[in-house]
Structure formats: C-alpha cells, structure tokens
C-alpha cells in the first residue's frame, strides 16, 4: 500500500478511439497536498479529472483513489467534487441544493444543518441561502458549487476551475479555505488556466494537448527552465514540445 490518495499510472484516453485526448499521464497525490492541473482550454484537464473520478473510462493505465481501483461508486462519496459548469437546480434554493447533495452523500440529518452553515460561511453565502438559485449571479453560483464540494468535509477535493468568474477578494477567501483544509491533512486537485492559482499549488502538472509537458513543484519548475514565473515556465515548456 502507498500513502498516495490518488495514483494515476500511464493513462491514455480517447473519446472516439482515433484522436487521443490524454497520453501517458502519471500523477501522485499525497495527503495534505494541493496539486494543480494547469493548461489552456481544451488541454484535457476536465477529461483527466473525470477519469480520476471514474466517470470516464480510460483506454490504458491504472487509476487508484484511496487505494481503490477506479471506477468505484462508493469512493465517489468520499470525494468533494466541483464540476466545471455550475450543475445546480435553478428552481431550488441554495439551501435545498445543499440538502439534496447532502442526502445523496448520505450525510446524517443531525450533522447536515451544521455542515451547510459552515460551507455557506466559507463561500460567503450565509445570507443568501434561502434565495432560489435562479436569482443568483454567476459568481454566486460558482461559490455555491464550491460549497457543495466542501459540504461533507471530504479528505479529497477535486475542483474543476473553481476560480473562474469569481472576484479577486473571494478568490483569496477560497484559497484561504483550501490552505486551511490542507493544514487539516486534506488533499486537493484543482484545475485552472490562471497563473495566480498555479503559484499557490504545492505541485503542478502542465498539460497541453493531452500531454503532461512538465510537472514538479512550482520552484522546481522555475529552476528547471531558469525563469521567474509559472507563466514563463509554461511558454518555455510548450516550445520544447
């Protein structure tokens, strides 16, 4: 047994059997680590995340989460997930959305209210919990999606572009919470195409066209390419390919 929460070994994935979307991806996630998947739109970040969750099959390679080969339905209950698009029920209030997902995760009724209050507080939605989601702005919907992912305080969080459409102040607040979770020995996978997010991660995987063009800690990467920012790392690494 390893102490990896997530272990991705040599995976390859293609949707149509002809055009490969992911090629030869390897990734390890330790407890208390924040891993960032960085890449432009269309690079394959969401696909990789869905493969890790077992929602997409892989053509080649092996994925384990909590030492369990994926896909596995029960493991999904231990992952806090936020999809790239806001998957919310507009007709319901924010609270009803949270209760619904809490029930799907089999959170005990007695704990659910406390958890909802806490998650709402983190994303600053406490006062808007009883509004229907149809009245929410884009940023509020993103925050509610984050709250749903945080709901059952899972050991593993997988967040697909959580900072898109969120103002800088709130982005800071969310990062604070992620750091807080990390200090509680929880692990996080986050996808992003924003360089500011990348700087905050413990470990980065740079993806372009389905290839992991480079991976390592931010400082390792900067050292390796002899540059000062992750943005430059990305550009240099891209040139190499």
């Amino acid at each position: 047994m390893t102490n990896n929460l997530v272990s991705v070994q040599n995976i390859a994935k293609s949707y149509d059997g002809k055009h490969p979307i992911l090629k030869d991806i390897n990734l390890e996630l330790l407890a208390g680590q924040i891993v960032g998947l960085l890449g432009p739109s269309g690079a394959g970040k969401t696909t990789l995340v869905k493969c890790i969750m077992g929602m997409q099959s892989v053509d080649h390679g092996k994925i384990e989460v909590f030492d369990t080969p994926m896909p596995n339905r029960q493991v999904l209950g231990k992952i806090g997930y936020m999809a790239q698009s806001d998957a919310l029920y507009d007709e319901l209030t924010a609270r009803e959305n949270l209760i619904f997902f809490g029930n799907l995760l089999s959170v005990a009724k007695a704990d659910l209210n406390k958890m909802i209050e806490h998650a709402a507080q983190v994303v600053n939605l406490t006062n808007d919990l009883d509004k229907p989601v149809s009245d929410y702005s884009g940023g509020m919907k993103r925050r509610l999606s984050v709250a749903i992912a945080l709901l059952q305080s899972p050991h593993l969080l997988i967040l697909d572009e959580p900072t898109v459409g969120i103002d800088p102040e709130l982005r800071q607040q969310i990062w604070q919470e992620l750091k807080q979770l990390k200090s509680e020995n929880k692990s996080i996978i986050i996808t992003t195409h924003v360089m500011e997010d990348a700087e905050q991660c413990d470990y980065l995987m740079l993806i372009r066209d389905g290839y992991a063009i480079s991976q390592g800690t931010p400082s390792e990467l900067k050292e390796k390419f002899g540059v000062d920012s992750i943005e430059e790392v990305f550009l240099s690494a891209g040139r190499d390919k």
Binding site: I79, A83, E96
Partner: protein, 401 residues
C-alpha cells in the same frame, strides 16, 4: 434515502414551474374540450330528413327539436331530392318492412344523429309490440290459473266422495284451458343504410375520443419527462449527480416515481374530465380505464427518458414528436386496423398506442372487462419495463459504475 431525496427534488422542481404544471394539467383538458365542442356539439342546428312512406309511429319517435322530417311522394331520384332540399338523410319505406336509409354523410355527427334516432324509434316500436303481447299472454295466464283453481276445487269435492285407493290413482289435471286474445308477431324492421359520402364505419367521435384521451396522456407525459431528463443532462446536473455514490438505477427510478406521481394526477384529471365534464359514457369500468392510462403514462415516461438520450437539446427532442409520437395516434384505433395493409398491421403491433387505444375503445364503448383486456395491459407494462431497463443500461454512457 438517495431515492427519496431524488423524488422529493423532482416534486419540488415541478411545483415551482407553473408552465410545466400548466402544460401537464391544463393543456390536455383544453384540447379535449375544444375537440368536444368541435366534433360533438354540432347537432344544435336543425337538420332535415326526407321520408317516403315512413311508418307514422317511427316518424313520431324520430322527430325531435333539431331533427325535422318532411315526407315526399316519390322514392325516385333520391340523391337529387336530397341535394335540392338539403336533407341529411332519406328514409324510404316503400316496402313496409324494410327501412332503406340514404345518408348524405358529409357530417358524421348528423349521420349518427339520424342513425341512433332511427334505431331508438324502431326499438321503441318493437318493445311496444312486445309489451302488448305480454299483456295478452298475461291475460291468458290468468285464465289458465282460474281454470286450474276451479278444477282443483271440483276434484277435491269429488275426492271426498271416493274411497282411498281411487283417491290415490287420481292424476293431475290434463285438460288445457283455452287461450283467449291474439299474439302479434313484432315486426322485425330491417334497416338498410346507404352512404353518399364515406362509409358505415365512420363513427368518428365515438371511436376517436377514447383513443384520443389515452393519446393525450401519452403525448404530454412523453414530452415532459423527456425534456426534463434532457435538461438535467444539458445543464450538467446529471453528470454532477453521477459524481455522487448514487446508483444509475436510482436516478431512473427516482425520475419514474417523481414524474409518475404527476402523471397519475394528470391521468386521473383527464379521465375524470372526460367522464364527468364532457359526459362521455363509459360502458365498462372507470378504474379499468384509469389503470390503462396509468400504464400508458408509465410507457410514455420511460419512452420519453429513452428518447431524450438521443437528443442534444430541446429542439431535437421536439423532432421525436413527428417521428415517435404522432404516428402512434394513427394506430390507436382511430383508423380501423382491418383496412390497413399487412405491413402496416405489423407495425401497429410494435406501437404501445395500438394496445392502449384498443383497450380504451373496447372498455369505454363495448364494456370489456379486465379478463378481456389483460393481455393488452400486460403488453403495455412490458413496454414500460423494457424501456426502464434500457434507460438504466443507457446511464452507462455517463458513468461506468
């Protein structure tokens, strides 16, 4: 727990979308009412019927507020006479026992009016004859009873004067009393019908309504369940749902039960409306009609969900309506199957509406019982179960486990 959460959510969503509720509950009633007004209520205008040598008792019974008779002295050039006088039918009784009717038949409702009226008047006449016959035989019976009584009395008197063995030998009375009065043979009028337009089978409203009621149940449930699951998919919530430990089958069952509750309310509403507001007479059992439609709703629900997996957006879902839904109405019994080409008859048998429509027609208009239609109901249930299984399998596309 997860299943209940899903059902609760579906119900809350439905309650909060008044348009969907309107489409499900108000629209079918509106269309049914419209059809009722358009197809059935056209008999308030006076219609005229030409007659030749019509039995005066039949004529008396036939004439109503909206149906006027005018007799003519010729049974020739009927079609021309009808055209000239704008008669909707011509009743010819030149031969006293045969009623020969020619219907204009461009308006099925009016043809039906005369047809039913004529049938009823002849029945009335027949039953009158029968009643008078009954009276006659009643008198005869009375006379017979009287005769027996008299005889018995005489015998008793006689027996009292006889020795015992002779008394034992005495047999029952054998002589028959004479029947008085005359029995009339009721005239068996034979009706022959001719149609100027279309044929005898065109009893449109009678046949169409039961089938159309069930078709509306099918149509609206199909539409709403299909579009709901589709928007669940396009909005990404389905994928989000599948990122929780929910079972694929739980999603399908949650949908079937959640929308099924609304479909059952809708079905009850439509059937009650048809019976109590539109006053459509159900010869068979009301609950059998209801049961049939609940099964239809089940099939529509599962078919709608199934179809939605092949659509990318609402418009593509609408494209299934002319493809999958409308054709079914033609096989639901509105058009008699017997007249169709063989291959069309085969197609009919793979359409749920064929079984539903025929069951509805047979129960509503002919009073068929559960024991007569159970096979159709089983087939409908089988369609529903088949699509349920296909839907659960189809969920594999979105998540492997």
């Amino acid at each position: 727990m997860r299943l209940i959460a899903l059902i609760k959510r579906v119900l809350t969503q439905m309650r909060r979308s008044p348009r969907t509720i309107g489409l499900m509950f108000i629209a079918p009633l509106f269309i049914l009412s419209l059809m009722y007004v358009l197809l059935a209520n056209n008999n308030t205008v006076n219609s005229y019927v030409g007659t030749y040598n019509l039995n005066h008792q039949i004529a008396e019974n036939l004439e109503t507020k909206h149906l006027k008779l005018s007799s003519t002295n010729s049974d020739r050039h009927i079609q021309k006479q009808m055209k000239d006088h704008n008669w909707i039918a011509f009743i010819d009784m030149s031969d006293r026992k045969n009623v020969e009717v020619t219907y204009q038949n461009s308006d099925l409702g009016k043809t039906q009016l005369v047809k039913n009226g004529l049938k009823a008047s002849i029945m009335k006449l027949k039953s009158k004859d029968l009643v008078s016959n009954l009276k006659v035989s009643g008198q005869a019976l009375k006379a017979q009873k009287q005769a027996i009584l008299t005889q018995q009395k005489a015998l008793k008197e006689l027996a009292a004067h006889l020795p015992a063995p002779a008394r034992a030998k005495m047999s029952k009375p054998t002589n028959k009393p004479k029947v008085t009065g005359k029995i009339v043979t009721p005239t068996d009028y034979k009706i022959t019908s001719h149609y100027i337009y279309a044929g005898a089978n065109a009893t449109f409203f009678d046949q169409a309504l039961p089938a159309l009621v069930t078709f509306f149940v099918f149509f609206f449930v199909f539409l709403i369940s299909g579009i709901s699951l589709l928007s669940e998919r396009t909005s990404g919530t389905l994928s989000r749902l599948l990122a929780t430990p929910i079972r694929r089958s739980e999603i399908i069952f949650g949908y079937i039960i959640g929308y099924g509750i609304f479909a059952i309310i809708q079905t009850l509403l439509i059937v009650c409306f048809t019976v109590f507001v539109l006053n459509v007479h159900i010869v068979g059992n009301f609950w059998l009609v209801f049961l049939t439609n609940v099964l239809v709703a089940f099939v529509a629900l599962t078919m709608g969900i199934f179809a939605s997996t092949f659509a990318q957006n609402e418009f593509q879902m609408m494209q299934f309506i002319p493809l999958l839904v409308i054709p079914q109405v033609f096989f639901s019994g509105i058009i008699p199957l017997a007249g169709m080409a063989q291959w069309l008859q085969w197609i009919a048998h793979i359409m749920p509406m064929y079984y539903a429509g025929n069951t509805m027609i047979n129960v509503i208009t002919k009073g068929y019982l559960l024991s007569d239609v159970w096979l159709n109901l089983v087939i409908l249930a089988a369609f529903g179960i088949l699509f349920t299984l296909l839907n659960i399998l189809g969920m594999r596309r979105f998540r492997q486990v």
